[in-house]
């Protein structure tokens, strides 16, 4: 499978995601944001970082860059799109995913390994996880507090479009296990066709026991099949 990682000025997780993709046997290409065409890809990844220094709003400027028009076209024709952290923020700014990511409730940049519950395994991104599996994945963000309107939240719940929620070690989803004030502990969501996933946690940081754990592996190996 072919993947493309979009690189913006200020992206800083682009190398990590490339390592993860290549480890999972993706044929990966890095695509600079000024490109106006995308190579044929099965998966497009918008990586984490601080594109354009988070000027205006996180992801706002990157969301209007020239390559993004191509990403939108590809996404609308069914290409798989994964946005991690700043990539999630960019996806909401493009309108490919609804809602937005506000400043963390405690106003602090949070960098720690947290527990996540897999809420829906019926997607190309999560197929290899077990239902309700609890993962330990790193988060590192200042604006991860997911917010959306009541209508969209109802849709997310009704159509099972919430991919991951923050939970505790036992899998209990409560205010206590919500690191950033996110609505209903939401950590990642799909679009209605489930070919787009946006998530704040960093699965690409969890692919090797040597530096962390391997809880992120299944996300990428789900895609390769």
């Amino acid at each position: 499978m072919k993947s493309s990682v979009i690189v913006f000025p200020g992206s800083n997780c682009d190398r990590d995601i490339a390592v993860a993709l290549e480890k999972m046997q993706f044929k990966n290409q890095m695509i600079w944001h000024k490109e106006t065409t995308l190579p044929k890809s099965d998966l497009i990844v918008i990586p984490g970082g601080f594109s354009y220094g988070d000027y205006l709003r996180s992801g706002a400027i990157a969301g209007k860059s020239s390559i993004i028009e191509e990403v939108i076209k590809a996404a609308n024709s069914g290409c798989l799109v994964l946005g991690i952290c700043n990539g999630f923020q960019i996806l909401t700014e493009t309108g490919l995913l609804n809602g937005t990511l506000l400043r963390n409730k405690n106003l602090k940049f949070i960098n720690k390994d947290i527990n996540l519950k897999v809420m829906n395994i019926n997607s190309k991104f999560t197929a290899k996880y077990k239902a309700n599996q609890i993962l330990k994945i790193n988060i590192a963000h200042n604006e991860g507090n997911y917010f959306t309107d009541r209508k969209h939240l109802d849709e997310l719940n009704k159509e099972n479009l919430i991919a991951f929620k923050y939970c505790d070690e036992k899998g209990i989803i409560a205010n206590k296990s919500n690191p950033n004030g996110s609505l209903e502990n939401i950590a990642g969501i799909f679009n209605s066709k489930k070919n787009i996933l946006g998530m704040m946690p960093h699965p690409e940081r969890m692919i090797d026991n040597l530096i962390s754990n391997t809880d992120g592996v299944n996300l990428f190996s789900s895609l390769i099949n």
């Binding site: 205006l56 709003r57 706002a60 209007k64 700014e93 609804n98 809602g99 937005t100 506000l102 400043r103 963390n104 409730k105 405690n106 106003l107 917010f147 959306t148 309107d149 004030g181």
Partner: protein, 79 residues
């Protein structure tokens, strides 16, 4: 023509920054404070002499980039 855009968070969106500013001001002895909401402000100089047209153009700028309409409201004023 110069116009300004004031961007504020919608009423029901939590504003933790505003809250911290309010708490700090209260600690400085300003106890009469009821609430503070923090926002953004832009001054825009535009090549257009017709006010209606200028406002329309700035309105487009707001919709396209300056404002996240899900969480923010905005107001355009002539300077």
């Amino acid at each position: 023509m110069k116009l300004s855009v004031t961007v504020t968070l919608k009423k029901d969106v939590l504003d933790p920054q505003g809250k911290v500013v309010l708490n700090t001001l209260s600690n400085l002895g300003m106890n009469e404070l009821k609430s503070i909401r923090q926002g953004k402000y832009f001054e825009i100089d535009i090549n257009e002499t017709d006010e209606i047209k200028a406002v329309k153009k700035v309105d487009q700028m707001c919709q396209k980039l300056l404002v996240n309409l899900i969480i923010e409201d905005y107001k355009i004023d002539k300077l």
